[in-house]
Symmetry: D2
Subunit: 256 residues, 4 copies
């Protein structure tokens, strides 16, 4: 099936965006990235500047995986904009995953700072992927300010709790005119499939793969799960019924 995710005119054939955080080794990360089939991967700016990061950069280039720098660890719009500019210069891309979190305990997005940062970054020509909570109002505002992709969380970062409020995710996806990518909270394959079935256009995850016991296998699981969820979301599922319905007609069965 040819069903690409198009962002900023770029066509991605995989709807799984993988983060690199939490990986214990570069070799393992590389293998997992390849198994995931991802064509876009987030890299924290603070990570990029060490020697290890040069190798990561090379690995991504070798496999034609596009880099999406993120502003992980920023607590204010000002910090985020500063980090974004460093990223643009270092990575030579105006794509940016914008994270502005309120505190280290929850790592939850801070709505006002996030809005301010989005407005400023769009003004400066960035293609903003805005990491957001699951508030449908905030999601719409981010879109109105020019975010290219809205990325509501399923659950707080690193919890693996899945999608705590499917109702909100479905509402966000149904009202958005830009791509919606579920970001954060994913723990296992069925969570990712569900995200797609709720109408998301993609899924972003990191530690669900990098911290799994067998990261490469889990990356492969997610590759299939995102494909499964996307296909199912387009295939027109059967309605939920309160009462049973035979798949075969009850009459005409073998008598004796």
């Amino acid at each position: 099936m040819n069903d690409p995710l198009i962002i900023d005119g770029v066509s991605l054939s995989s709807r799984l965006i993988m983060g690199t955080g939490g990986a214990p080794s570069l070799a393992g990360l590389g293998e997992a990235l390849i198994a995931s089939g991802t064509e876009l991967t987030t890299v924290a700016m603070r990570r990029h500047h060490s020697g290890a990061d040069y190798s990561l950069f090379q690995l991504l280039t070798d496999h034609s995986i596009r880099i999406l720098p993120n502003t992980a660890g920023c607590f204010t719009a000002r910090e985020a904009v500063h980090t974004a500019e460093l990223a643009r210069e270092a990575v030579e891309t105006n794509w940016l995953k914008l994270e502005v979190v309120a505190d280290e305990d929850t790592l939850l997005p801070d709505a006002p700072e996030l809005l301010d940062a989005t407005e400023e970054l769009v003004r400066r020509g960035f293609v903003v992927f805005a990491y957001s909570n699951d508030d449908p109002v905030l999601a719409k505002r981010l879109e109105d300010l020019g975010a290219a992709v809205v990325m509501p969380l399923g659950a707080p970062i690193g919890t693996g709790l899945g999608i705590l409020n499917p109702h909100n995710i479905e509402l966000i996806a149904s009202r958005a005119a830009v791509p919606v990518v579920l970001d954060a909270g994913i723990g296992t394959a069925s969570d990712a499939a569900l995200a797609m079935e709720l109408g998301c256009d993609g899924v972003l995850l990191a530690s669900a793969v990098t911290r799994a016991q067998h990261p490469t296998q889990m990356a492969s699981a997610f590759r299939h799960a995102v494909t499964a969820g996307r296909l199912a979301s387009q295939a027109g599922r059967i309605p939920r019924r309160m009462h049973a319905q035979a798949s075969s007609a009850m009459d005409g069965r073998v008598g004796y």
Copy 2:
């Protein structure tokens, strides 16, 4: 990954078993079966005896899909045993999906009749796939009586409600020494992935594909979903945490 499901010494590389009930046309059914990648498919005995069924039989033979006759529509052990014998003769297989339901309203299995039928059919040399409710005690009893495969329901047949009691399914799978296949209730891809993550060895579904708006696409979705869930169940998922955890360390970020 070479990870077959082995039943009665037969190795199945697909863990998705597809039913044929509910399909509006044979052509559409054939396409969906192929897209699903299934190697085993249930056929209601009453269906098998018409001309249309000869064509179905041919289609399955052409694609090397093994037939699993079922006793859909039987309400007593006696009826089920009788239907099983007809099936063995007609289809030339001793594999049998045993359904003994209590009534047409719920289509739920009737525990005592199911136990009686299992005992008798095992005595007669059948390889019994026992369609069961999600009671862990009943599942264990069926295994003790010699069922080759235990098949608990996720939800009543045709409801598409998914897995109503994941706790029970997980308990059944963790205690079983025979393969456990989730049967009935599946509505969409994430349900199938979840079944596998809970420890099931396979998934059986029919109307979720045959009654979807686009059956072939949905069949493909389930093919990926079952693979995804199986991989995830073996990959060692991250634990669920109540509180956030950064995927990248919080120190060392770009300062200014």
Copy 3:
């Protein structure tokens, strides 16, 4: 509101049945029983024969709380019938809570033994309160065999997991012509309210009170919860809507 639960011609004004298992002291138990407002309480037969049980018996008599002997710890119909006869003689009641469990790990009811025991005990003139799993078919069969009360579990005994399959409980309650009492699995007040809202006629619990940190307070919580759930189930709740609806009309608000 005068809305008694009537069983075997006896009118109970409280719909909360309290078990005595798990109580660390008789004094504490007595206080909790009174706070719960219960008029019927289960006592395990093995417990009844010690000195401590004489005091418990006295306490129940003093507060006009009817005794419902149970067959906790029985694994076969034969054991259960034997224990029931001892109970009838010792407690001078033909009311009996019938428990026949499959094993000590799950403490789940064993359907075939439960059915056999029910049939035999009804024949012997007992008023059977049948502790069951949440299978709607089994519940109906127990009723058909003459059980006076059907008592499906919310979750396995002592787990405090609440109601794992509300769909089944609702189905059981909607099809029953005898009182349905939710038994086992209750952890906190909202679980009990939910049971009533699903259509149950009463709730039975023990360790949720006796093992709480403050049993008397928790007993009082459940008293209110059962009343709340019963009232709500009769009051005709608002429908669930997918979209918001203003409680006040949107027009005519203060302008400026």
Copy 4:
């Protein structure tokens, strides 16, 4: 139990706050308010200025129910502040339920406008009850700006969907130094009990009562439910266990 909710130095013995929206008649509303036991009730300002509202005002005065004017129907901080000033003059109270919603479709709070309005109203001496979404970061910010009560939603207004994200509500309650009152989304009694068990200090609802088939009975249900949930939240519930635990010891049962 003497366990009042204290707001702005005022002690409320009922933790149920009832709204008046959606009531078909004043007589019915009065009866329901009394049955609910509430000591504080919200009144939309636009409603207050008609003749009918004079009667409502009288009814509340007669029953010593304090009025909490709200800014329902306001879409901006400016509108809300204006409405608040009108309310203060008309009702002679500086207590205010602040609602600033983003649109009529979702009626969801608009975070930035809500923050601005809170800041301004606190500056003007209002005791602000801030109706919020369930974002823990926004809840904390509202508290930091001086909100006297934070009121996260369970689900969008009027949906009756209950508490869509219990995890967030629990997080909000555990981090708050001011009272947290669950507002919006409540459909039935168990929802209200759950809100209290998650750590909320109170529950606010309107249409769940006023639009129920029997409002007075439903009001009574909620009165019990809030009491039940509060008691349970203080009583130290049993832990959730994955496996069964007998309430009575398994040894020493009657043998034969």
